[in-house]
């Protein structure tokens, strides 16, 4: 490798050619402040517009300051990161940015986890000269089912744009307008609802300020818990337990399943259940669908739609409804675990505890913002009563717990309630990329071959690459499996199908980086990809610790079929656990 020698603040360093000054300084332990720059290494996501100019440094012989995030080192370069010229420039630029930023930090959703606020603290900003007569750029507030855009707080870091365009290829957000009014918005400054937005929430996950936040429903949850006429049931998605601890200062990757259950109980939920239960149920239905299509295919049926695509990620469902509606017969018709849970809770379980579904409130705790939208879909309501009433994010749950003076860190560990709190390890791994298909494989294999799996871990399905493929031997029948996370990758696999070039039998797709553990409702990673890695590890650890590893062995699932549903894909199962998709292409840009 070609090495380059340079000095930074008088210290010598040698780095590979092509390294930026910012990264070279890191090698020396010099932490140059950055604001717009973001590098999610393993996921190949880099936002490098060179726009904020906070990372400017002095380079000997260069007439102006250099943005260290996007300037490569050169042999013999002499860099200074802390001269008065640099410090003054950085501070002045920061004052400029704040001069066009609302000062309502006390009531801002991002307060305490805002990169701009952190930078103001770090640079010791005390006053903004001329603020009294400084005009502010203002924009219409945009509220959608999942996301609020308060662009008065946008600092044009363009991170959201990178996620929406480069990582997701959704193209809902672009820089619009010029000069002082420049901002990131959907085309023609429409509302998000009229854009192709999938509500994946990846823009929210990376926005350094309060410009993009989730719609907060904690107030609704408190009201429900306060209403004595309601039975409040809560479900928690697999990825939540692997990340919630971060909001309480615990190390990324700390599993807090039992503590979270206790906290939810202490918050006053009547039943603390697990979405993992519904994940097991999903496997029963989706697995049966896969095997059904596969069998028909192997018997020579030419009309059968293969590959089958997973359908548990609502961001992904939105994506294909907008972008590939002509292929809407291909995905599995199985509802997402959140919705299967709501449907069963308000039928089977409501009957069991003898209450009317209208007296039950189902709250879901999700790593995801698309779930907020999903639970409001009309298909998931019965006479106007939604199967899932309120969906809140991991971050919102943390706020609830804090408000209730509960100390998650020192909380006892309790178990989920029965019956809908029991789950297998297969249900847990729904939270990571590759997990759904691995869970499905564990069950489909045993049902198809009639044999018991010797090894339940399918290492070939795991990993972080955006697109992965593997084949699994079903007793002489090769099953080709594709996995994609991030919608850019999903798009590639879909284009292949469209062109008739796909050789897969089944494809798992998740919209978020790393799967649900990197969801838009999770604690903010602030650009640190190692956090996502740690959460993934935690999920697999939870799987290993489970006595039951396969969905079809979950005794409460068996019981549910015996007592209520009959068998997978039965008429009742169809009615309660399956759905259909829509052509939403026309919906875009309709005001």
């Amino acid at each position: 490798m070609n090495l380059v020698k340079l000095t930074i603040d008088g210290k010598k360093v040698e780095v590979p050619a092509g390294t930026t000054i910012y990264k070279a300084a890191k090698e020396l332990g010099i932490d140059i402040p950055i604001l717009c720059y973001m590098d999610l290494k393993d996921l190949n996501i880099e936002n490098k517009p060179g726009g904020c100019r906070i990372c400017s440094v002095e380079v000997e012989g260069r007439k102006n300051l250099a943005p260290s995030c996007s300037t490569d080192v050169a042999e013999g370069m002499e860099v200074r990161t802390n001269t008065m010229r640099v410090i003054n420039a950085r501070r002045t630029v920061m004052e400029l940015i704040i001069s066009d930023h609302p000062k309502d930090c006390l009531s801002c959703a991002k307060s305490g986890s805002c990169d701009l606020q952190d930078m103001a603290i770090r640079l010791g900003i005390r006053e903004i000269p001329g603020q009294e007569y400084a005009e502010m750029s203002t924009y219409r507030l945009d509220t959608s089912p999942s996301i609020i855009r308060d662009l008065d707080k946008c600092i044009m870091c363009r991170r959201c744009e990178t996620m929406c365009n480069d990582f997701q290829t959704v193209g809902a957000l672009h820089a619009v307008n010029r000069g002082f009014q420049a901002v990131v918005a959907p085309a023609f400054e429409m509302n998000l609802e009229h854009s192709p937005c999938t509500y994946c929430g990846q823009c929210v996950a990376v926005c350094p300020t309060g410009a993009l936040t989730e719609v907060d429903h904690t107030g609704k949850v408190i009201a429900a818990l306060n209403d004595p006429s309601k039975t409040v049931v809560v479900q928690t998605a697999p990825a939540v337990r692997a990340a919630l601890g971060e909001e309480f200062g615990m190390k990324a990757g700390t599993l807090v399943t039992g503590k979270m259950v206790t906290a939810l109980r202490q918050l006053g939920f009547d039943y603390v259940f697990d979405t993992d239960f519904a994940a097991d149920l999903t496997i029963m239905e989706e697995g049966a669908e896969l095997l059904g299509r596969l069998t028909r295919f192997l018997e020579g049926d030419k009309d059968v739609k293969l590959p089958i695509l997973t359908s548990c990620c609502p961001g992904w469902v939105n994506f294909f409804e907008y972008n590939f509606p002509e292929m809407k017969e291909i995905p599995s018709t199985a509802r997402s675990p959140q919705q299967m849970f709501g449907s069963i809770a308000k039928s089977y379980f409501a009957e069991k505890i003898e209450i009317d579904r209208k007296d039950m409130v189902v709250v879901s705790i999700m790593p995801c913002l698309a779930k907020k939208y999903e639970c409001q879909r009309e298909e998931f309501m019965v006479d106007g009563n939604p199967d899932v009433d309120i969906s809140i994010s991991t971050r919102e749950l943390a706020h609830l717990i804090k408000q209730a003076n509960l100390d998650l860190v020192r909380m006892d560990e309790e178990d989920f309630d029965k019956p809908m709190g029991e789950s297998s390890g297969a249900g847990v791994i729904f939270g990571v990329t590759g997990g759904v298909i691995e869970a499905a494989t564990r069950t489909a294999y045993e049902i198809y071959t009639g044999k018991s799996l010797e090894k339940v871990d399918f290492e070939q399905l795991r990993g972080v690459d955006g697109i992965r493929s593997a084949s699994v031997d079903f007793d002489g029948q090769e099953i080709n499996i594709g996995i994609a996370h991030g919608l850019r990758n999903a798009r590639k696999l879909l284009e292949e199908i469209k062109e008739g070039k796909s050789h897969y039998h089944a494809i798992e797709i998740m919209a978020c980086p790393g799967g649900c553990i990197g969801g838009g409702g999770q604690p903010l990673h602030h650009g640190d990809a190692s956090i996502l890695k740690a959460r993934t590890k935690a999920i697999y650890e939870e799987d290993r610790n489970k006595p039951i590893r396969k969905s079809h062995e979950n005794p409460y699932i068996k019981k549910l079929y015996e007592e209520f549903l009959g068998e997978p894909l039965s008429e009742k199962a169809h009615e309660l656990l399956h759905t259909h998709y829509f052509d939403k292409r026309k919906k875009i840009f309709q005001v």
């Binding site: 904020c52 100019r53 066009d100 000269p129 000069g179």
Partner: protein, 496 residues
């Protein structure tokens, strides 16, 4: 938009190279261009020189880019030629966004073939077979003439397959810009050509490495190209014989403002501002006193009497706080308020900033607000310090040439006309009599006949005085609407 007029020629000190055929030939007839040795350079180079030899001619001529930055053209071509690629592009920057600049339009309207010929020459030198002219859609006549010229050149075999039967293919297409100033910046221009948002990206990579569609691309200005055929015809030595040590050839300026003769001029590098203003421009209008000259377009600096004898070239203009830019030149006289002038130019930069980087997006707006305060009498001494610091930081930290130069009008007026800032801030006076908020209405005793017209016109009853007696304005009540001044038939009401 004014018709593209050229200052009467021959005028002393002018040499026409870029404008050689403008107004001389019929631009819609290729034969007239050929009659002026048009396409001879192309034929000569294609059949007689290797690309490397041809690039050497351009390098030896010393010509530098006329679009603003003044980068040596031969060197640029050499970079593009050395970057290996299956596909390369030649781009002509005809975005011409400077307000008041119309030299590129004049060339395209008056001599479109010279640009086509030069682009084909460039294509041969760097190994490209496709050219694009990025032209603002607001130039319909230029577009029309280019279309005619391109089709004629194709007909004659100067464009298309195997030009001059040499096996060299080259064709040219038009791309239209929506008229954003920043789209003239070359990386923005390329993004705009690709259908993306016209905003700059960091260089490197330079277009010569990775330009249009990621391929090596040579971007030059219209005027730069217009010089090229002549250089090949008359030789590098001839061209480099004109101008100063580091700036060769001529430069076209759009002379405007308070001089007697305004219009396009083409002068050899090295003439002085004094020669331009007094000899070509015919001196200041109405016998007023010269105050300043602003060069380089909206982000150039304002130069004063002390700079008038400096030979004009790239380096000298930068050394005295301005720049060549694309060749705007606005002359100001004693009636111009320099704080207002700075504000006027800032207004343009605020409007035209693309908004990508924070210093330019927000900083220029804040500079404008400060100037606005000073012009309306609300300025404080600390505002002047802020103006300077902010200007320096914006220049130091902005992403592209726009923000890196937009504070120039502020800095140069602060340097050269500091006293005007002080009088606005400390004495609340605008000595040039431009800033209305700083002026007061008075009645000149000698002129007042006591007709009472002013008193009757005043909406707030600020004027007192008996019929046939001298009237008086109570400044405490006056709202400075100017109604009295309008009504007085005896020039008795004045502002000062």
């Amino acid at each position: 938009m004014p018709e593209a007029t050229l200052l009467a020629n021959p005028v002393k000190k002018q040499i026409r190279i870029a404008l050689r055929n403008c107004g001389v030939i019929n631009p819609e007839t290729i034969d007239e261009y050929i009659g002026k040795d048009g396409y001879f350079a192309l034929g000569k180079v294609l059949t007689g020189l290797t690309p490397a030899e041809a690039i050497k001619v351009i390098k030896d001529s010393g010509i530098r880019g006329r679009g603003g930055a003044g980068f040596p053209t031969g060197l640029k071509w050499e970079f593009a030629s050395k970057n290996n690629s299956d596909q390369k592009y030649v781009v002509c920057n005809a975005d011409e966004g400077d307000p008041g600049a119309f030299m590129d339009r004049s060339i395209l309207e008056g001599d479109p073939h010279s640009v086509l010929e030069a682009m084909a020459l460039c294509g041969y030198c760097i190994g490209a077979n496709t050219g694009y002219i990025y032209i603002r859609a607001e130039y319909p006549l230029a577009i029309e003439r280019l279309k005619i010229a391109i089709s004629q050149a194709r007909e004659y075999g100067f464009l298309g397959n195997s030009v001059f039967g040499t096996g060299f293919d080259f064709d040219i297409h038009l791309k239209y810009g929506a008229g954003a100033f920043v789209c003239g910046e070359e990386t923005s221009l390329i993004h705009s050509m690709e259908g993306l948002r016209g905003e700059p990206t960091l260089k490197p990579p330079f277009p010569a490495e990775s330009g249009y569609l990621g391929k090596p691309t040579n971007v030059n200005n219209v005027e730069t190209y217009a010089n090229i055929p002549v250089i090949f015809l008359k030789g590098a030595a001839w061209f480099s014989g004109i101008g100063t040590e580091k700036s060769k050839g001529t430069k076209v300026f759009a002379l405007a403002g308070k001089v007697n003769n305004v219009g396009l001029i083409e002068v050899p590098m090295g003439v002085t501002l004094r020669e331009v203003i007094y000899e070509i421009g015919g001196g200041i209008r109405d016998g007023k006193a010269f105050k300043a000259v602003q060069t380089g377009g909206p982000s150039g600096g304002c130069l004063t009497e002390k700079d008038l004898d400096i030979p004009i070239d790239y380096e000298n203009l930068i050394a005295c706080g301005s720049m060549m830019g694309s060749g705007g030149m606005i002359v100001m006289d004693e009636d111009d308020c320099m704080v207002s002038i700075a504000k006027f130019f800032l207004d343009f930069s605020v409007e035209e900033s693309c908004g990508k980087c924070s210093p330019c997006r927000i900083g220029n707006k804040r500079l404008y607000e400060l100037l606005e305060r000073i012009c309306t009498g609300k300025g404080e001494m600390k505002d002047i310090d802020r103006l300077r610091n902010l200007s320096e930081v914006i220049k130091d930290t902005s992403l592209c040439g726009l923000g890196q130069s937009s504070p120039n009008p502020v800095l140069s007026t602060l340097d050269n006309f500091y006293h005007e800032y002080i009088s606005h801030v400390e004495d609340k006076k605008c000595t040039a009599g431009v800033c209305r908020d700083l002026m007061e209405y008075f009645i000149v005793e000698d002129n007042c006949v006591g007709c009472t017209a002013c008193a009757r016109a005043c909406p707030v009853g600020a004027i007192t005085g008996e019929r046939k007696e001298i009237h008086l304005i109570n400044l405490e009540i006056c709202i400075k609407c100017g109604a009295c001044m309008e009504k007085c038939k005896f020039d008795a009401v004045i502002l000062k």
